[in-house]
Symmetry: C2
Subunit: 107 residues, 2 copies
DNA sequence: CAAACAAGCAACTATTTGGTTGCTTAAAAT
DNA sequence: ATTTTAAGCAACCAAATAGTTGCTTGTTTG
């Protein structure tokens, strides 16, 4: 349904999800869901939903071990966002002045 | 209500909005709303709503001239996303291998 | 085996989002 | 001065989102 970059952007557009993702990145080791959710002022199910969104975007990988499900951050999908941004870097710092130029010509 | 980066990310998380933004960037000149909306298979009001979201994120600047409202892209807010990404660049390419290492230690 | 624990599933709710249409206002053109 | 045009506003709608709770399932552990 949604393409990859849209999924990734939507995943990180939510501040709670950015926090969850960040926590997993800095943890540098896999964590079972309960342990993740214990760090947030939210029900386990709430966190699970966010984790699923992140997993769907590939930003979190989950591996089952017995009754536990270990979550781990994967930053790779962020590369695509970086690529997307690269195109617009060319336009940084000259947008406003162009607007000025254009509007002057009009008046 | 929402902080800046969240607004920016939400704005570009929508594919239609990314298209509108892109069209304005490559146009390199300000365009009245009707002209923007003519490029999309959507009502003018639909496009206007998206433009407002983009404007609220600072990605589009709008200046009124008579009965027209000229829209212009401003890429500056993307810098903040770039900053956000920078932190995670450090972790690119080693996420998966760390997971492997961790899980091996567990078994 | 029984108790405790990790997590999934389903149902429900409120809010936000992406879109529409109809009507009004104000500026420009004829 | 009338008509056309640009755009705003408001109301409405369906679908998605962010969250909750209650219950079940399956794995550990005592």
């Amino acid at each position: 349904m949604q393409n990859k970059i849209t999924k990734t952007l939507k995943a990180i557009a939510d501040p709670t999800r950015r926090e969850i993702f960040h926590a997993l990145v800095v943890a540098a080791c896999a964590m079972p869901i309960t342990q993740v959710s214990s760090q947030f002022n939210m029900s386990r199910q709430g966190v699970t939903k966010h984790l699923r969104t992140l997993e769907d975007a590939g930003l979190v990988l989950i591996q089952t071990k017995g009754r536990e499900r270990f979550c781990y951050a994967n930053t790779a999908p962020l590369k695509e966002i970086n690529q997307w941004l690269k195109f617009y870097e060319k336009f940084w710092d000259d947008s406003l002045q162009n607007l000025g130029t254009y509007l002057e010509g009009k008046s």
